[in-house]
């Protein structure tokens, strides 16, 4: 059952071939057996999932209308609030924070009868590209347990890859969905900025953050995007657009389909990764795509722009963690100043402290002009460059990362970790929808993905191309081998 698509699970449940309780038991048992090795979940919703399944079965018996995610097991990155459950954000600071309300995306999943499997691991406050910065546990790559799953949404990617959930939600601020999707051999989708509500999602960098899904198949991404891709009053940056609706590749691109490639930006891509990228482009051509060159040369500066703007926003957003209103207050503190200082000292990990300090630096008097404003200007130039590129093509194709998943501890200094995001941050800087779809394996078996980006609001177009790509490729049907573990 765990290898079925979400659409198939939903259909079997609706047709009465399987009960929600059977589905819940199957996935919980699987997670109990496999997750001790993978470490994808911070909390498994054993009793709540069975209760939810029981209610859903009663609903079916009572012939009540069933939601479009009926019976689909869904995991949630532990940065989205689920009412009554702890939202840790992978940080000690929030180890006892019980969410008082559901994130909008979670509420919508509940309303459509999706079954919540649990909360998945992440880099602390989503800051990282490997999932190594979680304060709680190590998440391992289901393809090879010696390797990282990618980050920051590493738990969500590993949970889908190891088939402990059929769909999971993550967040993508600079690549945090697409990079782990690539490393774990699954699909990961970052929608247009504002497409999915950020209400109830703990903020990292508000002008970049976007919630999106993981699954093996693009059709499942389309299924959940129909649920979460909707306007929300509680998020002022939520797009005032009609709900997400999938489109047909043949209808949209049957007559003309142009794929832009920023060749200049690919210089330095290792040979093996380049060969996989070229093969993916051949698949685009097989779909009728005409390959055209586009100039995105400014993307070589994207990491510099991103690490100025993101840390600036982070330092501002994380000021709210002061030990006063929620989270952990240091027991050592006797004065108000000590409450702030000690709570933050004890609650935050190294990477979080580093980014808050960097953000404070780029925003400090005398430097704001040189760093923050300059970066916002270059961001605008990058947006302009994408706009020009999209006049020549329907989608831009790029790698997701230079290589596959790396070993724990391999990226020792922060900058080398930041550079992992070189191919992904462009879409965040310009607010574009971007997909990572499985594209093959390196010689040693590590999977890597192929990235597709489109203009803002062209989410359905990106997923339609992804679905067409999967119709003529087979990489999404391969499953991890749990190298170094027991399957």
């Amino acid at each position: 059952m765990h290898s079925l698509s979400a659409v198939e699970i939903r259909n079997r449940f609706v047709q009465g071939e399987v009960s929600a309780t059977e589905i819940a038991k199957h996935f919980l048992e699987r997670a109990q057996n496999i997750d001790p090795q993978v470490g994808a979940f911070l909390e498994l919703f054993e009793a709540p999932m069975l209760e939810q399944a029981d209610r859903l079965d009663a609903k079916r018996r009572g012939k009540e209308p069933l939601g479009c995610l009926s019976g689909v097991p869904i995991g949630i990155k532990d940065i989205l609030n689920i009412r009554g459950h702890i939202t840790t954000c992978g940080s000690k600071f929030l180890k006892n924070f019980v969410a008082p309300f559901d994130a909008t995306a979670v509420r919508r999943i509940r309303e459509e009868d999706g079954l919540l499997v649990g909360k998945t691991n992440l880099d602390e406050f989503a800051m990282g590209s490997s999932c190594e910065h979680s304060a709680y546990k190590t998440t391992r790559n289901p393809w090879d347990l010696k390797l990282v799953p990618g980050g920051s949404s590493g738990g969500s990617a590993a949970a889908v890859a190891a088939e402990m959930a059929t769909i999971t939600l993550g967040t993508d601020t600079g690549g945090s969905i697409r990079l782990p999707a690539s490393f774990c051999g699954i699909c990961g989708f970052k929608p247009t900025y504002g497409r999915v509500s950020r209400s109830g999602v703990v903020a990292l960098a508000s002008s970049f953050d976007q919630v999106g899904p993981f699954a093996y198949r693009c059709e499942d991404l389309e299924l959940i995007m129909q649920v979460i891709g909707a306007h929300c009053q509680k998020d002022s940056t939520s797009l005032p657009d009609p709900d997400f609706t999938p489109i047909s590749f043949a209808e949209r691109f049957g007559k003309s389909f142009r794929v832009g490639v920023p060749w200049q930006f690919l210089e330095g891509l290792p040979n093996e990764s380049r060969a996989i990228f070229d093969r993916s482009l051949s698949s685009m051509e097989a779909l009728g795509g005409e390959i055209v060159e586009v100039d995105l040369s400014l993307l070589s500066s994207s990491i510099a722009v991103y690490y100025i703007l993101m840390t600036a926003e982070t330092s501002t957003n994380l000021a709210r963690f002061d030990g006063i209103r929620y989270g952990v207050r240091s027991s050592q503190a006797t004065t108000l100043d000590e409450v702030y200082d000690r709570s933050r000292e004890e609650g935050f990990g190294d990477e979080v402290k580093r980014r808050i300090l960097l953000g404070t630096f780029v925003l400090s008097s005398g430097y704001q002009e040189a760093y923050y404003k300059k970066a916002q200007k270059v961001r605008q130039l990058i947006i302009n460059q994408f706009e020009t590129a999209f006049q020549r093509c329907d989608v831009v194709a790029a790698p997701v990362s230079t290589g596959g998943a790396f070993a724990f501890g391999a990226k020792k200094d922060p900058l080398s970790m930041y550079l992992e995001d070189i191919y992904t941050v462009g879409a965040n800087l310009a607010g574009l929808p971007a997909l990572s779809v499985p594209a093959g394996h390196l010689n040693d078996g590590r999977p890597i993905g192929f990235q597709l980006m489109a203009p803002q609001r062209h989410d359905a177009e990106v997923l339609a191309v992804g679905r067409a790509f999967q119709a003529i490729t087979n990489y999404h049907n391969e499953r991890p081998t749990m190298k170094g573990g027991i399957l």
Binding site: F97, V98, P100, F101, Y193, G194, S236, T237, S301, I303, A304, V305, Y307, I308, S315, A319, D322, G323, I324, R325, Y326, G327, V328, R329, T334, L336, E338, Y340, D341, R342, R344, E345, F348, K353, R354, I356, L357, L358, T360, F361, S364, S365, G366, Y367, A370, K373, K374, Q376, K377, R379, Q380, L381, I383, D413, P414, L415, Y418, A430, G431, Q456
Partner: protein, 116 residues
Amino acid sequence: MLARSKKKSFYMTEVTEENLTHLAKLCRIRCSDKERNALLKDFRQIVDYVEQLSKIDTEGVAPCSCVTRGHTQTPRRDDICENTLDRELFLKGAPSFIAGLVRVPTILKSKEGKEF
């Protein structure tokens, strides 16, 4: 304002231990001497890296103020007052509370040093 070397170009920034201590105070991130030394090294590396932006010509470019296409500022919803979060539920998440309010250590003292 932080000290900046006047001899070097606008972007050449000197990150000193003193600067870092001042920044840490501003954002209330306390760090030990050992942590500060490690941070100093990382900081210098990152600051050196981002200085590549100085080479990009941004003459006449308006800084990006809203990423959503067609908007120059973040759209705002109408300011309508509504009940969003139950007080009791909220207080459950607070580290310390009393009489329906969040409790914090004493801030004010009398001239004689007595706590109010």
